[in-house]
Symmetry: C5
Subunit: 354 residues, 5 copies
Amino acid sequence: MSESLSYASEKSGLPPGSLVHVGEVHEHEHKITLIDYNKSTLTRSTINSIEELLPYRTTDSVTWVIIDGLQDVSIIDAIGRHFDIHALVLEDILNTHQRPKFEEFDDYLYIVIKALSLADDDFNVEYEQVSLLLLDKFVFTFKEKPDALFESLLTRLSNDKSQIRNLGTDYLTYIIMDAIVDEYFALQDSFDELIENVEDELLANPSAQTLNTIQKIKRELIFLRRSVSPMRELLAAIQRSESQLLHDKTKRYFGDIYDHVIRVSEAMESYRDLIAGMLDIYLSSVSNKMNETMKILTVFASIFIPLTFIAGVYGMNFEYMPELKWKWGYPALWCVFIGVSVFLLRFFKKKDWI
Amino acid sequence: MSESLSYASEKSGLPPGSLVHVGEVHEHEHKITLIDYNKSTLTRSTINSIEELLPYRTTDSVTWVIIDGLQDVSIIDAIGRHFDIHALVLEDILNTHQRPKFEEFDDYLYIVIKALSLADDDFNVEYEQVSLLLLDKFVFTFKEKPDALFESLLTRLSNDKSQIRNLGTDYLTYIIMDAIVDEYFALQDSFDELIENVEDELLANPSAQTLNTIQKIKRELIFLRRSVSPMRELLAAIQRSESQLLHDKTKRYFGDIYDHVIRVSEAMESYRDLIAGMLDIYLSSVSNKMNETMKILTVFASIFIPLTFIAGVYGMNFEYMPELKWKWGYPALWCVFIGVSVFLLRFFKKKDWI
Amino acid sequence: MSESLSYASEKSGLPPGSLVHVGEVHEHEHKITLIDYNKSTLTRSTINSIEELLPYRTTDSVTWVIIDGLQDVSIIDAIGRHFDIHALVLEDILNTHQRPKFEEFDDYLYIVIKALSLADDDFNVEYEQVSLLLLDKFVFTFKEKPDALFESLLTRLSNDKSQIRNLGTDYLTYIIMDAIVDEYFALQDSFDELIENVEDELLANPSAQTLNTIQKIKRELIFLRRSVSPMRELLAAIQRSESQLLHDKTKRYFGDIYDHVIRVSEAMESYRDLIAGMLDIYLSSVSNKMNETMKILTVFASIFIPLTFIAGVYGMNFEYMPELKWKWGYPALWCVFIGVSVFLLRFFKKKDWI
Amino acid sequence: MSESLSYASEKSGLPPGSLVHVGEVHEHEHKITLIDYNKSTLTRSTINSIEELLPYRTTDSVTWVIIDGLQDVSIIDAIGRHFDIHALVLEDILNTHQRPKFEEFDDYLYIVIKALSLADDDFNVEYEQVSLLLLDKFVFTFKEKPDALFESLLTRLSNDKSQIRNLGTDYLTYIIMDAIVDEYFALQDSFDELIENVEDELLANPSAQTLNTIQKIKRELIFLRRSVSPMRELLAAIQRSESQLLHDKTKRYFGDIYDHVIRVSEAMESYRDLIAGMLDIYLSSVSNKMNETMKILTVFASIFIPLTFIAGVYGMNFEYMPELKWKWGYPALWCVFIGVSVFLLRFFKKKDWI
Amino acid sequence: MSESLSYASEKSGLPPGSLVHVGEVHEHEHKITLIDYNKSTLTRSTINSIEELLPYRTTDSVTWVIIDGLQDVSIIDAIGRHFDIHALVLEDILNTHQRPKFEEFDDYLYIVIKALSLADDDFNVEYEQVSLLLLDKFVFTFKEKPDALFESLLTRLSNDKSQIRNLGTDYLTYIIMDAIVDEYFALQDSFDELIENVEDELLANPSAQTLNTIQKIKRELIFLRRSVSPMRELLAAIQRSESQLLHDKTKRYFGDIYDHVIRVSEAMESYRDLIAGMLDIYLSSVSNKMNETMKILTVFASIFIPLTFIAGVYGMNFEYMPELKWKWGYPALWCVFIGVSVFLLRFFKKKDWI
């Protein structure tokens, strides 16, 4: 089911601030992963209740909490209570129809972005909403379902003792967002490849299937734009932000993501233009092929029409038709038939009709 | 009758500030509902004249006045007099062709928005203009007709003793606007569903009816945009407002509605793009189907044309046509007929014309 | 003659500041009307020379001077001299190809707007340029020709002793502009009605005439936009203006006109979209009708083609054609004719070609 | 040769600041005209070397130097040296592919605009680049070739002793630019006339020639926009400029040119829309005409097809065909022929196919 | 391979700041060229390691280092270490999918632009990313491959002792960028020429090849825009920059490049419009040609259809057909045949169908 077609109004009628999960329900168990690290040590564990987090509030280490699965509203509620998060933010975390956005609060920052990936079989883009809460010592990430999105990041974090582990929660937020936006390039490459294939198909053998693929790409691009284009605004807002949670040094890194997003976003715009051009080629090539067929058939008919008339003439029953009596009349007429055909074929050829 | 087609010029020639109801006249009685509440108590009553409101001016409670129906100009006039509302605002309340807007005055704020819903039978969007006056202790809402728009809100207000009832008139305004904008998502879902149906129809069996539906959606989107897109500006203006009637804390809530409006508004833009793509598919599929038919008919004719010519040849009356005398001439000719047909069918098939 | 097609270059080659009437010449006499009023009294008279105005410069009353007809350059020149108006303003008043605009000077404000109305017979929009000079005690309005544009306004001014007559020249300017912009709504209603008619015609019986009407509306909208869309900018500029000639209280009234102009302007944009959609429907319906006709004719021909072939076969003159000798050959063949026709009709019907 | 198609890269590889004439080479002699005037006197002379200008540097009069023809680079070089003009400005003066622009320097202002005119025979817009240098006591104008562009201006300057001659170099610059922009209106009128003609042609008798004209206008508009639309920005920059060379009083005059440019520019936009509409009408009318022809021919054929079948039936050689023996068989069949024709004609007429 | 179709995601999954070459791999050796100059002397040499640069850090001369080829990551790494360049900048230098951009750091400026050229054979635009680092005494340029891009610049630098060699690294940066942007004009000229050829082809003999060329140009323009349009923003940012590495005097030179970029960019926009117009002409001319053919063939058939009917009539075997007995029946019928043909030809001609 396409993201855009799930039910945006599920919550209509509820009071604002009600914690209800809105969006596609994934059948997975929810899971809370805790990563706590400083320059020297890193621990990774799976926890069951938010209360297990509370001791980390007094340590100096950076604590990253990954919540996979949003069905259990009580988890979100507990985070809200213990870390003093605004009710509207909790509501937004649970509603997976958010538009990418960045919101500043005194003690924390709230970021929503979309992780994009390709479904295996057909050319369907899958959207996963990732919410980030950036606190002084904590980073919370909320994902719709458990998947491998952060695996390579976690490996890197375990191995690499240098830069990442020295820096604070804002840098962690940066590498998380960078990992997500990097996936956009993978998507872009898939689009590149697909569009190249469709272009080859268009030149070689355009079919109704080609048209469907073109329309499908067009459709996906319409929805993609809704997830990608607000990212520019989001990252510009992060760079402009005066929040003390973001260090000036880290902001330049967000500037790097900003560049990536603009590149992806401009590529998407180019694809739209390319697709429009391909649609034109397709329609024109289909119509040309059709016209060619009709023209040749019409030429074919046009050659037989005068021949049939001549045969009709000599099928008339007039008593005085001298040609009918001639000995060589019949063979002569065959010569006429052949002569007329050859003449017409040449004439049509000269006119460039066949 | 579509909103856009009622008479915008009804008031032409009247002096500015004349209180005249402009817009569709609803056959309902007008009705004034009064809700007065504070943390502990809530009273709900129906009143007959504005004068009954005056005692509430000196209490500390929040008073919400719902006016259903705009035919009785004297009510609006009385409110204007007693609460010192600008003549142009009164005029705008009565004219239901307003564009959503927000206006600041020293002692009150004026907000116009459109409540959107779907008529039951056909796919017609119904527009109801809701005007809000936000005073220090009062909120006035003016609706075109009595309907269930605020019912769930009133129930919530009666039951829930916590947040809503603690906060002032600005928070009440927020929940009223939130309730109205929530309905937009219901509308968006209906569009989603309808567009999905039309897409299925397009693939399965496109008909002239499909084209009509596509055009109808397109038309509704044109009008919807006029009601939805000024909402962004309106909510941005509320957030920017320096008015003392709006508390900083409440402004974040209006920011939440702002996000909702942007999401609906972007969805509408996507629908426009989708509809344009669907129109292309429809036209191309209709033209393809037509062309296929014409091609097959032409091929059909092209097979009989040479056969008829041959039959015509042997219908000629030449005295010396040796084939006519042959015993096996007639059956042989049938073989020729069949042979020519088979050859042409194969040839056309090879050429991919049938 | 359409406004856009009169000669914009008539003044080319003349020095800037030359007072020459540029634009359509109306055959009417020019006429100067003087209205002088204060709270208690109002006098209305027709004057012949500008010099008659001079005594009013020292009174406290508001003096409104309406100049109908711009042929007599000496009047404009006299106003320029006596009231110290900039040469470029005088030039602009005389050139009726102006774009709506607002210009501030120390002692006066200059406003150009277009009064729009519908010509009686055909659907032609008529443009009349109205220039306003707003001075401390005077308002000058310059119109291209004498017409009833301000009649209802004058009546109101005579009867109503309250608000209008209390307030100064800026409020008078407001009600003049309001009267002109109110006419835009009348125009909008005519467009609504016309578009509704064309839509009905499109569904019932689209003809070449329908196409012409669509193109005509499209054309009028292109020109209308040039007159209406600068009005937004104009009214925003008036509201932003710091001029002492405009009181803060009156600016809110101009804000009301601003809203009206935006509504008209957005309606015009919607019409453009609607018209584009109607053109699509027209073209698609014409092409469908054409295709249907061709298809049915082709099916008709396709049924007779094999029949004619069979008749041709039995018109052949072979000596040994056993069927020709059979007693029931001829009636049997008629059965074949009918059988083939029925079979083909059913086949074509099944294929959904007829 | 169209302006856009001359060689923009002629200077590639040369160091910046190299003085080389880039652009169309005109076969004319270059010519330097000197006009020196103050309130009382005006002298006009043709000079041969820039050195003759030097004495005027110490007088109080305004000196206008018109350089016609840019082939002689040494002139530009000499002006650069004597009047201390930036190398890049000199380079830009010589390169006639400039975009209209305004540049401020401490001691002078540099303006590039395009003079537009119509070539006599065909509908080709001719572009001449005019560069202006505005100094304290000097105005230099550089034109590509000698022509009558400034003649009427010079006449006016000689005759009129009042305003122009009182004011400084900024006012002179204004009247020069005003003269050039006035020509734009002449061009606009030509477009008006041409478009009106094409519209008439479209209704009366659209031909391939009409399509060519439409495309030609479209093409010219594309190029025109590149010369006209930067003028808005240019004139806005002049009005915003803080340079001491421009007096506040004169800036209002530039505001007048600004209005003119906006009017021309908006007219050009309207033409683009009109042209797009005309292309639609053309294509639809050509396709309609074609379809009508095909339909009537098909109807014509459809009437003869059943008749030919019937004739074929009675040409069959069955031994037992009773009708053939009937005395009135043949005339009766003619009645059938006529009857069928009439019936089909009526049927087709009823179906609205002929 | 088109630039857009190489793999943007090669680096996905790597930590940010990893130095990996991303982009098309060129088979060339890398090469480091060092140019060191002051007013009096200039030395040019090829160096092998970055360490050879270090002595130049203490001289007063300007040092220009050209790195051709980005395969050897260790060079970039060494530059980063010795000159204290931000890790993200090094990463961007190595990734040749950058968007043109300008970044300010305290001690250096970073600029990425695209050098554009035409491949020899077909009409393919080649993109080479050029990165510039502007330090106090050093300018580094990083190119994808060794080519002649800077040759003419180097020659000029060796010969010309005046301006260039007097000025600092910012002026050197300017002339490097100017050299690259000058190539854009060469590209523009090629487009001009190509478009002119296609326009001629369109009028003379449009073929499927013409359509391919049109689509190819359209495609190249889509990609070109992504390289050219960010240049405006880039150069505006340089002009606005407050960096001490850029002198006010040099900024005006960058303003000159800015003008060039706008001109190229506007030309590209015009090409898009022209190409759209050409596509319209192509489609309309192909469809016209097709229609003409079909019409003439149909007219041809329509003439023979009634003749064949008449022949069929006199092939009937009625016993009583008086005409068959007439001596002049047969010649008379030929007259009828000819008469009918002539009449129909005239009729079709009059109807303007042939």
